[in-house]
């Protein structure tokens, strides 16, 4: 049985301001609209296709991840499925109740207590009073805020707020659950709890789940199928593993190396391939030993004393560090034909994010290849410290290995 079927969904937004403000302009544009049929050019200029003819079918009990860059249309798709806005064209069919958790604590009123908000939020997301009462104990204990349940939620920490909100949503007896990066909030332990709960719901109750996240790690743990969106188009829909691979391939490089025109150097030795991986996986996570495998092709017989550098930049533009063989006094030798060189970074100390990497290859003053921002290192998840905690937001851009010795 299909839980959800999308037929040819498009969503078109008008660029610029809507309702130009002055009545005269409004009239002008509506008169223009009558006399001139909209040409494609005008549509291109004034409208933006946020979603472009999306088709998919989701089976009952599927856990579907939606991945894609910012602006790919993920949120728009979720908004349409959860009926917050209508598609410009196309149709959505489904069966069963849809519960969407696009935000934590939608409709929570700061002045009301946790308990009052359970009833309020529960009824907003579509629970019946009897349902809320029957699940009340379970909701409270899962949220872990028992002792504050009669306190107004304005005094809650953001973590407590999220826990309570998720707990309510998880108890909604819906057939389809839609979640949008809510899990980005809350600590790692709670995130894991949510993922487990969602998986449990899906497996034991046959709940269909759609999950949007930038954290590929979470997507790959939770979802059996995934869809990849790129500028409003559905690029791929299939097994999560395959979709994630495509996404990483597409993302790790801004432009294919052989299409680049800004490469400096005589290219007697060239970079043909590169690959970031850890323990046979392509999902890079901070804290794990991470490898960069470079494939070089040389047209020279043999080159000694090569200097291979991979500077790693922060997205904000400054250089974080550099991988370089001469730095650790390791001499490298490049034979004729194909060579594979692998760098290893122990316990990758970089938090989640995208890091542009430059490639530089030279030997005794002769530059073979110098490619600025040749490829990216994309870190998809964090587990640097053994307890799984991540760096607090805005508290730095690198992990330091440290320990504490008291006495």
């Amino acid at each position: 049985m299909k839980a959800l079927v999308a037929e040819n969904i498009s969503k078109i937004y008008r660029k610029g301001s809507i309702g130009s403000g002055s009545l005269a302009k409004e009239l002008e544009s509506s008169i223009k609209g009558i006399f001139h049929k909209k040409s494609n050019e005008i549509i291109e200029k004034h409208f933006h296709k946020s979603l472009d003819q999306i088709n998919f079918e989701i089976e009952d009990g599927d856990r579907v991840g939606i991945i894609g860059k910012n602006g790919a249309g993920k949120s728009t798709l979720l908004k349409i499925i959860s009926r917050i806005t209508t598609p410009t064209h196309g149709k959505i069919k489904g069966h069963g109740r849809v519960a969407s958790l696009l935000e934590v604590g939608t409709g929570f009123h700061p002045e009301l207590t946790g308990l009052e908000n359970i009833f309020l939020n529960g009824s907003i997301i579509g629970m019946k009073n009897s349902e809320i009462k029957a699940n009340l104990d379970s909701i409270i204990s899962f949220s872990g805020v028992e002792s504050y349940i009669n306190t107004p939620v304005k005094r809650y920490s953001s973590g407590m707020y999220v826990r309570l909100a998720f707990s309510i949503a998880a108890h909604l007896q819906s057939e389809i659950l839609i979640v949008d990066e809510v899990l980005a909030v809350g600590d790692l332990e709670f995130q894991k709890m949510c993922l487990d709960k969602m998986k449990e719901l899906s497996v034991s109750e046959g709940k269909t789940i759609m999950f949007v996240s930038h954290n590929l790690n979470s997507v790959s743990t939770l979802c059996n199928n995934s869809m990849l969106l790129e500028s409003g188009k559905l690029l791929q829909f299939g097994k999560t593993e395959e979709v994630i691979n495509t996404y990483i391939q597409k993302n790790s490089i801004s432009k294919p190396l052989n299409e680049r025109t800004d490469i400096r150097g005589n290219q007697k030795i060239r970079l043909t391939q590169f690959r970031w991986f850890n323990q046979n996986e392509q999902i890079i996570v901070s804290g794990k030993d991470t490898f960069l495998e470079l494939t070089l092709f040389s047209s020279l017989t043999q080159t000694t004393n090569v200097d291979i550098s991979v500077p790693i930049d922060h997205q904000e533009g400054f250089r974080i560090s550099i991988l370089n063989n001469t730095l650790i006094s390791q001499s490298c030798l490049v034979k004729q034909g194909e060579n594979i060189i692998t760098f290893k970074i122990s316990n990758l100390p970089l938090p989640m994010g995208v890091y542009p990497c430059t490639f530089y290859l030279a030997s005794s003053g002769e530059i073979f290849e110098w490619i600025k921002d040749a490829f990216n290192l994309e870190v998809f998840g964090e587990s640097y410290y053994p307890n799984g905690n991540s760096l607090p937001k805005k508290q730095g851009f690198v992990y330091l290995p440290f320990s504490i010795n008291s006495d």
Binding site: Y13, R83, T86, K91, S100, T106, S123, E175
Partner: protein
Amino acid sequence: MKDDWEFDEKGNSIKLSFKELFGRSNLLWMLIKRDFISYYKQTVLGPLWILLQPLFSSLIFGLVFGKFGKFGSNGMPISQFYLSGFILWGFFAECITKTSSLFRDNMNLFGKVYFPRIIIPIGIIGSALIRLFLQLILLMIITIWLSFNGIEFKWGLQLLFLPISILMIAMLGLGFGLIVASATTRYRDLALIINFGLQLLLFSTTVIYPASSLPPPYSFIVELNPISVCIDMFRIGFGAPNNIKLSSILVSAFFLIVSPILGYTLFHKVEKNFIDTI
């Protein structure tokens, strides 16, 4: 399968919206409750404000127009005349101001979760009705107190005018509120007009003086105003003489039918994707 659903660019059908609405009565109740609890939290006088607002307005306007201005009170005691006027006017003003800003006030809610949107304006009318009911009790107490002081009050069929006039003014408040709410998603100017427009409108109704106290062309305008008709009917319930003209009744009947229908139609058109434009 019974839970099958389907929707496209047209959004929900009107039939479906109402079907869903009946399944969500607990949400309606929760919204009214939230409105009440949150409104009076951290105020010293709490719900007492519900009674103080019309009392103070009646006192000031009663003094200025009734006592100093000698506009008369259509044969009713001044206190009863002004309080009845302001109770109903306050109800109408609350319905229309809150309804007209409902898209802005609930943007966050509408942007994150789906429920039949019409619940929000119905909830607004609902909580305004509760306040009106409490104020009505106050008015009753005053009426009974007056009857002990020699001003006779007849319990009879004319009391039926109370629920009828309340229903009428609720429909007008909802209708005009929805029209303005739908229009403000495109033209914000209307939101600004509402407050100031209501102040002006107050002076063209019989809230603060009986129509009979004005010279002919002006009294005619005030009489035709559907709000005046509602307020005069409300006062008949409290024993005021029935001098509503047929022309006034026809005019208000017209607004009574047109405004809720137009309001709901516009609202239905806007609700499905206003979130993209606001």
